[in-house]
Amino acid sequence: MNAQPVRCQQLRHVYQIDGEQLIALDTIDLTLTPGSSNAIIGPSGSGKSTLVTLLAGLQRPTSGRVYLGEEEISRLPETALLRIRAEQVGVAAQNPGRNLLPYADAVGNIRFAQRGPRSYRRQTQLPDPGQLLDELGLAQLAGIPVDRLSGGERQRLALAVAMANRPGVLIADEPTSQLDAANRDRVVELLRHISKHLATTVIAVTHDPLVSVGLDRTIQLHEGRITEDSAA
């Protein structure tokens, strides 16, 4: 899969909580170029994670549009969104436990992630798990069960699993949370590697400004609005 551009147009999302409206995102306009690595940063409650879920098709925006390549995904039915997540978008959720089967090893987790595209009989060949781990410099994790991996290893494995189907877009939510500096750097390096060598548009949501340093573009969110964009 080639790297995909990602575009948001007048994107708005409002939560209804106890009868009150909470605006999470407010008229976001954003275009991410194919193969770029992007950091979306901001404090807690700024709307980072909401933006990630909208880009991943995990929920629908209240208004506005999200495009993946030329396809508007914000209006697609659930089954089409499943296929997009199976083939075009890889997601590494905030908590590594949400990305990995705890009882399987690295290879098993990658194979599990590859069940999605296989179920759609995708013609393009999927990478061999071992080869993928090797490509990402994680070959040493291959046979180790997840519950014996360290936090940093799990985080990196989560990114590898998200890349199991060679998606055009990788979305990583707080990929460096709970990690020490060394592990954080390894993860950032991995993101950059994915962007540059695997032809993938990388979107990393983080509250850690140091993560953005290593990536191509930094977009800052505050109270649901883009307050700063390094590309602007």
Binding site: T53, A56, L58, Q59, T79, L81, L82, R83, I84, R85, A86, E87, V91, A93, N95, P96, G97, R98, N99, L100, L101, P102, F112, A113, R115, G116, P117, S119, Y120, R154
Partner: protein, 1012 residues
């Protein structure tokens, strides 16, 4: 969790299979019991009465006719054919009176007789006679000669007593029922002869040719019944057409064999029982299966919920919906596939266990297609539970799964609708129960308890959070953190409330079942006691010369463990429509059981035994009376003692001719077996003509132990003697004087006398309304008449709804009075011995040693077992067993669910610990929470089950047939309390273990771990 799914899945399928397996086995058991208890009624009887054929010919006719009957084994269940030739004739010993006797040849009879002396007839002219006849005073003796009709003679080569006249071999024929003849010869037990012997009797003698086919109940299974019905119906068509041979029949003429049987009625009764079992079993096991299904739903829900994050991951990776679904339910489904054979095995084992516990011995438990269908249904139910449990998790979005969104408002609305529907169904069931009748009521009676406890459980657990919420405010500001946390958890945990509801249903059903079984057991006991009258009842063959009452008195002189009783059907009198039970009133209160709903044994004894003068019974060798006679006109009569002995109901012993002045009249007695003095007669049998006079009986005495003993005959007491009612042509006027009893007698025929009035007249009895006639042609006073046409007058001193043995149709009278008043009673009655709980182990041996001929024995315990094998009891037993299994499953399901929730709640609890809440407070909170939930289940379930029992039990059939015995439905306190205590202990233990599990999982490190 996988193990839990496997176990509960196996229980669901086991419960589903158990119903059909048990129903089938119970059907087999009730069929076998019905067939066994029906006795000869299930047999086939082929009969040929060749009227007019010479008996010699009839013997050869027998072989030809036998060839026309059914070959043994031709119809399943009838492997044996017992042929017999029975001829009614007269016979007498050389110096004895003529008696009616049945000359009987019956194939293989000697194997069913106890040969007391000699041997079986082995050739022509030989007969085997009963010992009872030998003892009967007819002059029969071993080696003696008997002469039958037309001078045919035979030699007595042996004596016998039947091993058991009720034995199936005898097919219910009355070969052993001697009786005293009215205006004719007595009837004695059958004499056994060789097959050719009846042919020696003169032509015209009535012969009955019989071929009996006793049914072997063990050979008949339910599957055989349709074919058996067809075969027997075919036989009835073939042999049912009566074409009696006329008087001119000759040996060459066609044989007219007729067949009769009551098998169809018995099979109909068995089918009725099976129908009851099927219906009851279906309803009972459906409730268990439903409960187990709910537990399975909870367990599978927990199993799937524990994989919620993996399912979310599958969705995140874009797996197709069906692949995600398979990912979620695949494991439970595979486990259910594995659970199916395990469940089948469990169900079979349970059915086998129940079968050996309550069904007829050796009842087979066989796998049938309904069981296979039930297994498939159970599996489908399990799959449905798995799918339903997965649905919520599968339809939840990835984000909702990550956020662990609680129950949706829609699900809450569905839950409310279900609760309202169940409550409405319960109310409707209650209305049907209170107002309905027959079939609808019986079905409702088994369904309503389940619905009622479900409604109470569901509504109660809805109210629980509202009640507990009131604790929030007072505990929030107080230092009772544990109580506060517990209250918070209860108010916000729908899963906990579901568990409480499920447990409450289980407890409710169990308490209903415990009540039902205890009530039914009590009623079975009451019915068995009423039907038998005593703890053990031994049938006695009455033998002339052996007084059962005297024999029992010898074996048990203190009256601690044995008493005599007899049932009797009067020969006439137009007053009694039921059965008469005569009991030894002096022992009744101690040894007899009352019938539930009737008077107590003491009350019965007091009512029927009200005699101010004791009977005068003696074994003396001589007796004397001192009489002062004067004013005698006409030829003087004889002075006679009127006695009754076991050997002779009309024992009249002459003591000399009455003479003027005071004289002593002495007679020799033959009273070794015990004689009862009935009165004195002034008899002049040989000379007719009037006689009058006055006499005073001054004293009576008997010679015993080598000396004369004065008899307290109450001669000076007014009312102790009366004019003999049987002396209808005499007018004796009695007056008690200080010198003795004065009698101014006057008789036109020369027969007068006085009776000792130890029998009140009319005789007091306790009767049921249906047992005696009333109004219309009923004589006043009422009377009953024996086969000798002797009448005994009686009055109903107390009416009863139901009485022992005779139940709602009969009366109870004093055995002593009955024997005194009715000379035919002894021989006509069916005698028995009632044994009480204090009977020694060698009671039977002692009674035999006392001279009694004992036959079969019945016990209340065996009757209770019989009643316990009737369809309603089997259903109730299954209900109890299923309810207990259900309770265990529910408690197990609760433990599993708590363990699962402990894992889910570990983060929260760990956070509280990190926040500084002390561990003891957390533990206390967890314990209080579990006790609140599980305690609510007990608090709701127990009264709901008890209420259901109170409402439903009176309309649940307790027996397959009706009984007049009054049944009771009071809730049993002890079993209910025992069950409640046991369950509370279980609940508290579960609460403690669950609380510990919650705390154990809640370690602070949990907060650093990835969420599962």
């Amino acid at each position: 969790m996988s193990g839990a799914v496997l176990v509960v899945g196996a229980v669901v399928m086991g419960a589903a299979v158990l119903g059909p397996l048990y129903a089938r086995a119970a059907g087999e058991s009730t069929l076998r019991d019905e067939l066994t208890q029906a006795g000869p009624a299930t047999g086939l009887e082929f009969q040929d009465i060749p009227n007019g054929i010479e008996l010699t010919a009839s013997v050869s006719h027998f072989a030809r006719a036998e060839s026309m009957t059914l070959a043994p084994g031709a119809v399943r269940g009838y492997p044996t054919r017992i042929g017999s030739i029975h001829v009614e004739t007269l016979g007498h010993a050389a110096a004895g009176p003529a008696v009616r006797v049945g000359m009987l040849w019956r194939a293989g009879a000697c194997a069913h007789l106890i040969i007391l002396s000699g041997h079986c007839p082995g050739g022509a002219g030989q007969v085997l006679v009963s010992q009872r006849t030998v003892n009967g005073g007819y002059g029969w003796r071993l080696g003696g000669q008997l002469t039958f009709a037309a001078g045919v003679t035979a030699r007595i080569v042996g004596t016998y007593t039947p091993r058991d006249p009720q034995e199936g071999f005898w097919f219910g024929h009355n070969y052993f029922q001697p009786s005293i003849g009215v205006n004719g010869p007595d009837t004695v037990d059958a004499v056994f002869v060789g097959q050719a012997e009846p042919g020696t009797l003169p032509p015209g003698t009535q012969a009955t040719l019989l071929w009996d086919y006793p049914l072997n109940p063990a050979a008949i299974r339910l599957d055989d019944v349709p074919r058996l019905r067809r075969d027997v119906a075919g036989l009835q068509r073939r042999y049912g057409e009566a074409n009696p041979c006329t008087f001119n029949c000759s040996p060459g003429e066609p044989v007219n064999v007729l067949m009769s049987t009551d098998l169809e009625k018995v099979l109909d009764a068995a089918a009725h029982q099976r129908d009851l079992v099927d219906r009851g079993t279906l309803l009972v096991t459906a409730q268990l299966a439903l409960l187990a299904w709910l537990v399975l739903f909870e367990v599978v829900s927990d199993a799937v919920e524990s994989r919620g994050s993996e399912i979310a991951l599958a969705k995140l990776r874009g797996l197709r919906p069906w692949r995600t679904a398979w990912f979620a339910v695949g494991e439970p489904l595979v486990l259910l596939v594995v659970a199916a054979p395990v469940g089948l095995g469990l169900g079979w084992l349970a059915a086998r266990l129940f079968s050996s516990a309550v069904l007829a011995p050796h009842t087979p438990v066989v796998l049938t297609w309904p069981a296979a269908a039930a297994l498939a249904g159970g599996f489908a139910g399990g799959v449905l539970a798995a799918v339903a449990a997965c649905y919520r998790t599968l339809t939840r979005s990835v984000l909702a799964q990550w956020r662990r969104t609680t129950r949706s408002p829609r699900a809450s609305r569905v839950g409310l609708v279900i609760d309202v529907a169940v409550s409405a169904a319960a109310v409707a069931g209650l209305v049907v129960l209170r107002a309905g009748s027959a079939h609808g009521t019986a079905v409702a009676a088994l369904l309503v308890p389940g619905l009622l406890v479900m409604a109470v459980a569901l509504l109660g657990t809805r109210l629980l959070p509202l009640l507990v919420r009131t604790l929030l405010r007072p505990t929030r500001a107080s230092g009772r953190i544990g109580l506060f946390l517990a209250a918070r958890q209860v108010t916000r945990r729908p899963a906990g409330l579901r568990l409480a509801a499920m447990l409450a249903v289980a407890v409710g059903l169990a308490s209903f079942a415990v009540s039902g079984e205890a009530v039914a057991a009590g009623n079975r006991d009451a019915r068995a006691r009423a039907e038998l009258g005593a703890q053990r009842v031994v049938a006695v063959q009455f033998v002339r010369g052996v007084d059962p009452v005297a024999a029992i008195a010898r074996a048990d002189p203190d009256g601690r463990w044995a008493m005599a009783a007899a049932t009797w059907l009067p020969d006439g009198g137009d007053s009694v429509t039921g059965t008469v039970l005569a009991v030894d009133a002096s022992r009744m209160a101690r040894l007899g059981y009352p019938a539930s709903g009737g008077p107590s044994s003491q009350r019965i004894a007091d009512t029927i035994g009200a005699s101010t003068h004791p009977p005068l019974v003696t074994t003396a060798t001589m007796m004397r009376v001192v009489i002062d006679a004067s004013g005698m006109r006409g030829l003087p009569p004889w002075v006679q003692f009127v006695l009754r002995s076991p050997a002779d109901p009309f024992l009249t012993v002459t003591a000399g001719t009455l003479r003027p002045g005071t004289h002593t009249y002495t007679a020799t007695l033959d009273c070794a077996g015990g004689c009862t003095l009935l009165g004195l007669a002034w008899n002049r049998p040989d000379t007719f003509g009037a006689m009058t006079g006055t006499l005073t009986v001054r004293s009576v005495g008997w010679y015993q132990h080598a000396r004369w003993v004065p008899v307290n005959a109450s001669l000076t007491q007014p009312g102790a003697w009366r004019a003999g009612p049987e002396y209808s042509d005499s007018t004796d006027t009695l007056r008690a004087t200080p010198h003795g009893l004065r009698d101014d007698y006057q008789s036109s025929s020369g027969y007068g006398g006085i009776s000792y009035a130890f029998v009140p007249q009319p005789m007091p009895v306790v009767a049921t309304r249906a047992g005696v006639t009333s109004g219309g042609m009923t004589p006043d006073p009422r009377q009953m008449v024996d086969g000798l046409s002797t009448a005994a007058t009686f009055t109903v001193r107390q009416w009863a709804r139901v009485l022992p043995v005779v139940l709602d149709s009969g009366l109870i009278a004093n055995l002593t009075f009955m024997r005194a008043m009715l000379p035919g009673f002894d021989a006509e009655a069916n005698w028995m011995i009632w044994l009480g709980p204090h009977a020694p182990p060698d009671a039977i041996a002692r009674l035999r040693a006392a001279g009694l001929t004992l036959q079969h024995e019945n016990t209340t315990q065996s009757r209770i077992i019989q009643l316990g094998r009737q369809a309603p009891a089997l259903s109730l037993f299954l209900l109890l067993a299923c309810a207990i299994i259900g309770s265990v499953v529910a408690v197990g399901g609760t433990a599993i669910a708590i363990t699962a929730s402990a894992r889910r709640r570990s983060h929260e609890t760990a956070a509280l610990r990190v926040a500084g809440v002390p561990r003891p407070a957390l533990y206390r909170g967890a314990v209080i929470e579990q006790v609140m939930l599980l305690g609510a289940a007990v608090t709701l379930g127990l009264p709901a089950g008890a209420l259901a029992a109170r409402l439903a039990l009176p309309v649940i059939p307790q027996f397959a047939d009706t009984t007049p015995v009054v049944l009771h439905y009071q809730l049993p306190t002890v079993p209910l309390i025992t069950f409640a205590v046991a369950f509370v202990v279980l609940v508290v233990l579960t609460g403690l273990v669950a609380a510990a599990a919650v705390l154990r999982a809640a370690v602070p490190a949990r907060l650093r771990e990835a969420e599962e």
